[in-house]
């Protein structure tokens, strides 16, 4: 098993690699789309503007490589924070298209509470996936985002958190997972989550 953390110049891929190193799992940053197929798992991190990042993925050939990886070879793919949002169809941030690998879109968070949502939030896992509920028990994660994922059907939602109402924390369908929080900034909970992904 070896894990590729996509390095496309947007977000801190080194931090994710370091977290895997700390739990003894092999991971490395990959900056060449053509090399992705050598890895058993792939992670797309990301911090910043959706429109900008989406264009980078397209122009560098990463969008094609990731689609091949997740849809053709059907290997596990995890998107983190902006990387999670990029797995969807579209985002209001930049009015840009995502990779379209999961059926959801991103909208700006509407609330009287401060936006971006920045801070630790408890995540509740849905009842659907028993294996996950047994592995990932009560978890808190660090969130930092202004846009949220809106799934096209509720079966896609694996985990939620509360911030003036219930919002999506994790979406998942088959081998593709989108996590809105930052596991690499969520100490032991992040390690457990990344460990779960490595074993999926």
């Amino acid at each position: 098993m070896n894990i590729a953390v996509v390095d496309y110049g947007v977000g801190n891929s080194r931090a994710v690699v370091r977290m895997y190193e700390s739990i003894g799992v092999r991971a490395e940053t990959v900056s060449e789309p053509a090399h992705l197929s050598h890895y058993s798992h792939a992670i797309l991190p990301g911090v910043g503007h959706f429109g900008y990042a989406s264009e980078i993925l397209r122009s560098t050939g990463w969008s094609t490589a990731l689609a091949d990886y997740a849809l053709d070879s059907q290997r596990p793919l995890l998107g983190i924070c902006l990387g999670a949002q990029l797995l969807g169809k579209f985002s209001e941030e930049g009015h840009a298209n995502g990779l379209g690998l999961l059926p959801f879109s991103c909208e700006r968070i509407e609330t009287d509470l401060p936006v971006p949502n920045m801070g630790w939030r408890s995540v509740n896992y849905s009842a659907n996936d028993l294996a996950i509920r047994q592995t990932l028990v009560h978890h808190r994660f660090y969130f930092s985002h202004s846009y949220e994922m809106i799934p096209e059907h509720s079966a896609l939602t694996l985990g939620t958190f509360v911030y003036d109402g219930e919002r999506v924390a994790i979406l998942r369908e088959r081998n593709i997972t989108a996590a809105q929080f930052h596991p690499e900034k969520s100490h032991r909970f992040g390690k457990e989550f990344l460990s779960w992904f490595a074993s999926s």
Binding site: A15, L113, P114, Y142, K185, S186
Partner: protein, 255 residues
């Protein structure tokens, strides 16, 4: 009025860095070496603190560009969000810090122009990404003494108007650091909290004097979050360096 929205209370370690080394001061002087900042951050992260605030307190500060290597290393070792402050005086510097993966910048109060910088950064990154730190003392002597050391220190009587001015900006939170209590581990300045709550509607963090988990709880009782240096750095009151997280066994005190 005690205001905590949605478990907004936070308690976290504050790491003071002097010319690249992690130090602990007492009343802003007599710094003692406690270790390498990168190692300190790694350990606190292992002990599951919820966030770390790093403040560069060097008197003669190197340009930010030469400190970025250390900050990069800190980010890589921290599996928790990291805030950074110390000599940030431009949006450009804030950009570089956020690019590296810093979650929040701490801007030290200098004068009324501080509010403009705060608003500029908040406009780009959101209010919660910007904190303002006001250092103050009840002693005019301490204020004067530190004035030449490039650290603007307010007398407590000047504090309230400064806070009111900051309250009119888009600052995400205000850190009140009491020099008199810094490193003394005798408790926080709780009196200032009730006065300040009347004048601003911004989350407050008390810093200076935490020596026990009880002190952290006392901050909560007056509606403030708590920062702590000594408590996460020393073994009880002996000031022997032993990094730790006293909140590890108090899960209800994490957010």
């Amino acid at each position: 009025m005690v205001r905590f929205v949605m478990n907004a209370f936070r308690a976290f370690p504050v790491l003071t860095i002097d010319r690249g080394a992690a130090v602990k001061t007492r009343r802003f002087s007599s710094p003692i070496y406690v270790g390498d900042p990168v190692n300190t951050v790694r350990l606190w992260s292992e002990f599951c603190v919820d966030e770390i605030v790093c403040l560069d307190i060097s008197e003669t500060r190197e340009k930010l560009s030469s400190r970025l290597n250390q900050i990069t290393a800190i980010i890589e070792e921290a599996f928790v969000p990291v805030a950074f402050g110390g000599g940030i005086d431009s949006l450009e510097q804030a950009h570089r810090l956020f690019d590296l993966g810093i979650e929040k910048v701490v801007i030290g109060w200098e004068d009324l122009a501080t509010g403009e910088l705060v608003d500029t950064v908040a406009a780009h990154y959101g209010s919660q990404a910007v904190a303002c730190c006001l250092d103050y003392s009840y002693s005019w002597e301490l204020c004067d003494w530190t004035k030449n050391r490039r650290k603007r220190v307010l007398h407590v009587t000047e504090l309230y108007s400064a806070i009111t001015a900051m309250g009119r900006t888009n600052v995400g939170e205000i850190i009140l650091q009491c020099i008199d209590r810094d490193g003394e581990m005798n408790g926080l300045d709780l009196a200032v909290a009730s006065e300040v709550h009347e004048s601003v509607d911004v989350p407050l963090v008390l810093l200076g004097g935490v020596g026990s988990v009880e002190h952290i709880k006392s901050a909560h009782r007056v509606g403030c979050s708590a920062g702590a240096g000594s408590l996460f750095t020393f073994r009880t009151n002996t000031r022997q360096v032993l990094l730790g997280n006293p909140l590890l066994n108090e899960p209800e005190w994490t957010s």
